[in-house]
């Protein structure tokens, strides 16, 4: 086996396991989790992804093994850290998948790379996330109060009933979710024009956050190939239907896009 890990690629708090970089010829798939979530959201993909794809789940600070790291509320700062830590790993074909908040991060990361002379992903996969606000409104986070947030998350399927038995856990989950929503909702893309890489938008058939009918709104964010896909499930189709989702991801990354 040829080891092609770039000499400058080092394990990072965002990605401590870089063993997936070691095999040549694989597309490196960097995955960004949803708000209030963790990198383990992609653990079920490990045995489902094509052998030609290296799974690289990115862990944001403030959860799981990074529970002691301070959470980041501003996209600019997060992008600086992601570029610092992940840029050395982008010396081979790579793709980005983001789910909900993670989709906004993946999109912002692709733009940041483009705007700073970095490489482009072979594909940008955006799940369960409406496009960023481009109306020029100020980047002020309008996050619902605690009760409304819990109600909203329960409706989406993000807060199981059992969690209500553990008030401390619920409070910690709400605090994490709130900070993540600030991060995602205050992002405004710089006026540097659309991307040119292929963009594929995935919408859950029953997702009120990104209904399938709105998936096409992302089209203006790339001049490259653009497709939309409706997958079974609601906002958390990532958890609900991993087989169907990963099958689609494998197909989208398997072949060069043909318009």
């Amino acid at each position: 086996m040829i080891n092609i890990v770039a000499p400058s690629a080092r394990p990072s708090p965002y990605l401590p396991d870089i063993s997936g970089l070691a095999r040549a010829g694989r597309t490196r798939l960097f995955c960004f989790h949803y708000a209030g979530g963790t990198a383990s959201a992609f653990a079920s993909w490990r045995d489902r992804l094509s052998p030609q794809i290296a799974l690289l789940p990115v862990q944001l600070p403030g959860r799981e093994y990074r529970v002691h790291d301070r959470r980041i509320l501003a996209m600019d700062r997060l992008l600086e850290e992601l570029v610092r830590d992940l840029r050395p790993m982008l010396d081979a074909p790579f793709a980005l998948y983001g789910h909900s908040m993670g989709a906004m991060i993946a999109y912002a990361f692709a733009r940041h790379l483009r705007d700073h002379g970095g490489p482009a992903p072979s594909a940008l996969l955006l799940g369960a996330c409406p496009p960023p606000d481009t109306t020029g409104r100020s980047a002020h986070a309008e996050i619902p109060d605690r009760a409304a947030l819990v109600h909203w998350m329960r409706e989406l399927g993000g807060v199981p009933d059992a969690l209500l038995q553990y008030p401390e856990w619920l409070e910690a989950s709400v605090a994490l979710l709130r900070d993540d929503l600030v991060l995602a909702s205050t992002y405004r893309p710089p006026p540097s024009g659309p991307l040119s890489c292929p963009v594929h938008v995935l919408a859950g058939a029953r997702d009120p956050v990104l209904p399938p009918a709105r998936a096409g709104e992302w089209a203006e964010h790339t001049t490259g190939p653009f497709t939309t896909h409706t997958v079974p499930g609601g906002h958390f189709f990532l958890r609900e239907h991993p087989d169907e989702l990963v099958h689609l991801v494998n197909n989208l990354l398997r072949q060069p896009f043909r318009a």
Partner: protein
């Protein structure tokens, strides 16, 4: 909860994952098939099995299953 084998058996029964002993020292994101919601299922089952409450502040600081086993073992 007296043994790691019992702990792994409980995970298998309640969460549906068949894990090996070495898996409990991996970060949650490195355990194939793990989902953060599984932790909630597991804690609920552990409390029912042991009849003891597990310290929530400690659960919230856990980074791997070995941490949860440690909390269950001392509860």
């Amino acid at each position: 909860m007296t043994s790691i084998e019992q702990f792994l058996s409980l995970i298998h029964t309640e969460v549906g994952l068949e894990l090996a002993v070495e898996d409990i020292d991996r970060g949650f994101d490195q355990v194939a098939g793990w989902d953060s919601l599984h932790l909630l299922t597991l804690i609920t089952a552990l409390e029912e099995t042991t009849g003891q409450q597990i310290s929530m502040p400690d659960v919230l600081q856990a980074t791997k299953l070995a941490d949860i086993y440690g909390l269950a073992a001392i509860s």
